[in-house]
Amino acid sequence: MLWARRISQGLFLAVFLLLFIQTEQKGADELGWPVKVFLEFDPLHLISSLLAGHAVAKGMLLGLALLLLTALLGRVFCGWICPLGTLHNLVGALRKAPDPQRGPAWFRMKYLILVILLGGALGGMNLAGILDPLSLLIRSMSLGIYPAFNAAVNGLMDLAAGTQARVLVAPSEAVYGLLKKSVLAFQQPHFLQGTLLSLLFLGLLLINLKERRFWCRYLCPLGALLGIAGRWAFLKREVAEGCTGCGICDRECQGLGITKGRDWKASECFYCWNCDDPCPKSQVSFGFSARPAPGDLDLGRRRVLLAGAAGLAGAAASKAAPHALAERVDPLLIRPPGSRPEADFLARCVKCGECMKVCTTNGLQPLDLRAGLEGLWTPVLVPRIGYCEYRCTLCGQVCPTGAIERLPVERKVAVKIGLAQVDRSRCLPWAFNTPCIVCEEVCPIPEKAVYYDLVQGKDRNGNPVELKQPRVDTEKCTGCAICETKCPVVDRPAIFVTSITESRSRKNQLILGSGYGG
C-alpha cells in the first residue's frame, strides 16, 4: 500500500504538472485541456464562494465529490492526491531526524484558520484563495517558480550558445529545442511580485526541513475542511491487541494521526500507510468499519466562535475601507474581459493565477493591495507589459469560479474593459509634427476604434507637414490596450487605457447613453 500511495502521488503530481504546462496559448481558440480541474474539485473554494458570492460555477460542484470521498475514506486527498502535499512530502524526505514534539494545541491552528476564512466569506470577503493549497501552488508556480525556471534555462542556453564553441553549441541547441517543445514557456514570462511569491513558496517548502509536512499539519485550511469531513470516515486504522506502545509508528506518521501508537484521529490522518510496515509486531492495519471513530476534534467552542467572529470583523473592516465604496472606480483596475462586477468578481476570484498563466501576452498581472486584501493577487491588465489579444478568450476558459465568465469569441470582442485615451502632449503627430499612427494600425476593431484626422501642420520653420492625428471612438474602443502596448513612445505611452467605460460597471461610464451592458 505504501507503494500504491507513492505511485498515486506521483501520478497526480504528473497530471498536475502536465495540465500546468498546457495552460498556455497555442493558437487555437479553444485551449482543449481541462486545466482547472484540480481547482474545481476543491470544496474549500466551493464553500467560500457560496458564502461570499451566494453563487458558484457549475464545475465547482465537483468539490462535493471530494467531500463525499473524504467522508467515506478520510483525508486520502492529503496523502494520495494533493500535489502540494506531495511536494511537501518530497522535501520532507530530506529531513532524517525525527520531528520535534509540539504541544497538543498546534493542530488546531488550521481549523481556526479555516473558520476565520469562512467567517470572512460569510461577511462577503473571500480570502480562501490566499491560503488554499491548490490556489497557492498554481499561483506560486505560475507567477514565481516557472518564470524563474524559464529564465534560468534560457540564460544557461544563451551562455552555451554565446561561447560559440562547437562542442557546446550543437548539443545545447538540441537540448534547448527539446525543452522548448516540452516544458519551457513559449516566451519568457514576467510577473510583478514574482520573486516575493517564489520566496513565500520556497519558505513553505523549506519548513519541511524543520518539521515534515508542517503546512499540512498546522496551516492548510483545505486539510482542516477535509479533516472535519473525514472525522467519521469508514476507512479506519486498527491496532491489534499485541501493540506494545513502542512508538515507532509515531515517528513515521506524516500527519498527526497517531499518539503513542494506539490512539488515532481520523481527522489528522493522511492515510499514508507509513505506520503499517514498520510495526515490529505487525499489529497495524487499515480496514472499513462503521464503528464510531475515536478522537474528538477538540477545538473548543469558544475558540471557534472567536475565530469566526474575527473573520466577520475583518470582512466588516474591509467594507469600511475607501476602496470598498459601493461601486468602486479605479482607473488602473482593468479587469480581464468577462470579469463580473467588482464586488461579485472579488467574492469569486480564488487568486489561483490560472488566467495570468494562460494570458497570451503576459498582460494579466497579480494585483497588489490596491483593491484591498481581498483583491490581493487578483488579475489586472497592465498594458505596459501586455495587451488583451482581440480574439483570445483563454482567461475565461481557465477561470474555475466564473469570476471571469467564459465568453464565446463573438461576445468577447464586444466586451469593454476600458478606454484608450491619447496624450496629446506626447503623441508624435500631435506634439512633435512626426508621422506615426501605429495605434491606428494595430487597433483590432475592424472599423477602427482608433482613427485619425488628416491635418496640415507646420514645422518650426513654417514648412507644411501632413499629419494623421489619432483619435479614439468611445463607442468602438474596447480598451484592449494593444495601442498602449505597441505605442512607440516607450517610456510613458502617448496612448493609454484606463478602466472607464468597462462593460461590467454601471458607474464607470463616460458618455451618456453608451457603454454599460455590453
Binding site: K26, G27, R391, C392, P435, C436, E447, K468, P488
Partner: protein, 297 residues
C-alpha cells in the same frame, strides 16, 4: 592517355562547345519581367506565374536553403485577407522542394500573438503539410545589420536566418495601409525587422527603401487572390475584402509593387516607397518600360 581516349575527350569537348554556341546564337525567348496570372486555384496560379519566368528551377538550385517570407502579421483568418493566402505559400514550398531545395523555412515577425497568427492564418498548417520548416521568431537570432547609404535607417537588427538563406522569396499580400497607402512586397520585409518597428513609421518610405537595399529577394510573388481595400493592414471586416483572383510574380521588387498599386486604383508613383525605390535604382517603376505578361490559369 590512349589515342582513342584522347580523341573521345576532344570530340566531346567540341560537341559540347558547339551546343553551347548554338544555344547562345538562338534568339532568346523574350522572358517577361513580370507575370500576372488570373485564375481560381491558388496552386495553379503559382505554377503558372513562374512558368514564363523560367520555372522554379531558374531560381532554386539543388541543395538550397530557401526562406519564404509570407505576411503572417495578424490574428486573422484567410478570408479576411490580412495575411498571405496559405495555399499560395504551400504551393511555393512544394515547388521549391521539387526543385531540390534542401530546406524551406517559413517565418514572420508578427504584430499579434505569433501562435495565433501562425495558426489562424492557416499558413503554419499548410506550409508544414507541404514540407516546410515553420518556426517562430527568436529574439536572439536578430543581428544588427549596417545599411550603407541608408537615408532613414543606418543600421537595424534583422533576422539572421533570412539573410543567411541561399534563396529568399517574398510572398506578400496586397492590402490597404493607413500610413503607406498600400502595403505590398517592399513593406513585407518589415517582418524580418527586430527592435521597435513602430519607429519606422516616422519615415516609412525612406526606411522601406533603405531596407530594400540590403534585403534582396530572389523572387517576389504578390498574392492578390483576395485583396484588402480598406482598414488595412489588419482589416477584419469581410466588406473590405475584394476577391480578384490574381497573382503576380517577378524579380524586380519595385516593378511588382508598382503593379500592385494598380489594384487599388493607384500608380507606383503614388506610393512613396515605390517612387523612392525607383529613384535609388532598386528597380523599374514605369510599367510601360517592362515586359508584363498576363495569363489565365
Amino acid at each position: 592517355m590512349q589515342r582513342r581516349e584522347f580523341c573521345g575527350v576532344v570530340a566531346g569537348g567540341l560537341s559540347l562547345g558547339t551546343a553551347l554556341e548554338l544555344k547562345a546564337l538562338a534568339p532568346a525567348p523574350a522572358r517577361p519581367d513580370l507575370v500576372v496570372v488570373h485564375g481560381g486555384d491558388p496552386k495553379n496560379l503559382v505554377r503558372a506565374a513562374l512558368e514564363p519566368l523560367g520555372g522554379i528551377r531558374r531560381f532554386i538550385a539543388k541543395g538550397d536553403v530557401v526562406v519564404i517570407k509570407p505576411n503572417i502579421g495578424w490574428d486573422r483568418i484567410p478570408e479576411q485577407a490580412a495575411t498571405t493566402n496559405p495555399q499560395v505559400v504551400a504551393a511555393l514550398v512544394a515547388l521549391c522542394l521539387e526543385a531540390g531545395a534542401r530546406k524551406v523555412k517559413v517565418f514572420d515577425r508578427t504584430c499579434n500573438d505569433p501562435r495565433r497568427c501562425y495558426a489562424q492564418s492557416g499558413i503554419e498548417a499548410a506550409a508544414k503539410a507541404a514540407g516546410a520548416e515553420v518556426s517562430h521568431i527568436e529574439e536572439r537570432k536578430f543581428r544588427e545589420v549596417p545599411i550603407p547609404g541608408g537615408v532613414a535607417i543606418k543600421s537595424w537588427p534583422l533576422y539572421a536566418e533570412a539573410l543567411e538563406a541561399d534563396k529568399l522569396i517574398n510572398v506578400p499580400i496586397a492590402k490597404h495601409h493607413s500610413l503607406s497607402k498600400v502595403t505590398l512586397g517592399m513593406k513585407n520585409w518589415m517582418g524580418i525587422m527586430g527592435g521597435n518597428r513602430g519607429q519606422v513609421h516616422q519615415r516609412i518610405d525612406d526606411a522601406l527603401v533603405d531596407l530594400a537595399t540590403v534585403v534582396k529577394p530572389t523572387l517576389v510573388l504578390l498574392d492578390a487572390i483576395r485583396i484588402l481595400t480598406g482598414h488595412g493592414p489588419q482589416g477584419g471586416s469581410l466588406s473590405d475584402v475584394k476577391k480578384v483572383d490574381l497573382l503576380a510574380a517577378g524579380t524586380d521588387p519595385v516593378a511588382v509593387d508598382a503593379w500592385g498599386a494598380t489594384l487599388f486604383g493607384r500608380q507606383g508613383s503614388d506610393l512613396g516607397y515605390v517612387a523612392k525605390g525607383a529613384q535609388r535604382g532598386l528597380g523599374v517603376m514605369d510599367l510601360g518600360r517592362i515586359r508584363v505578361q498576363k495569363l489565365e490559369a
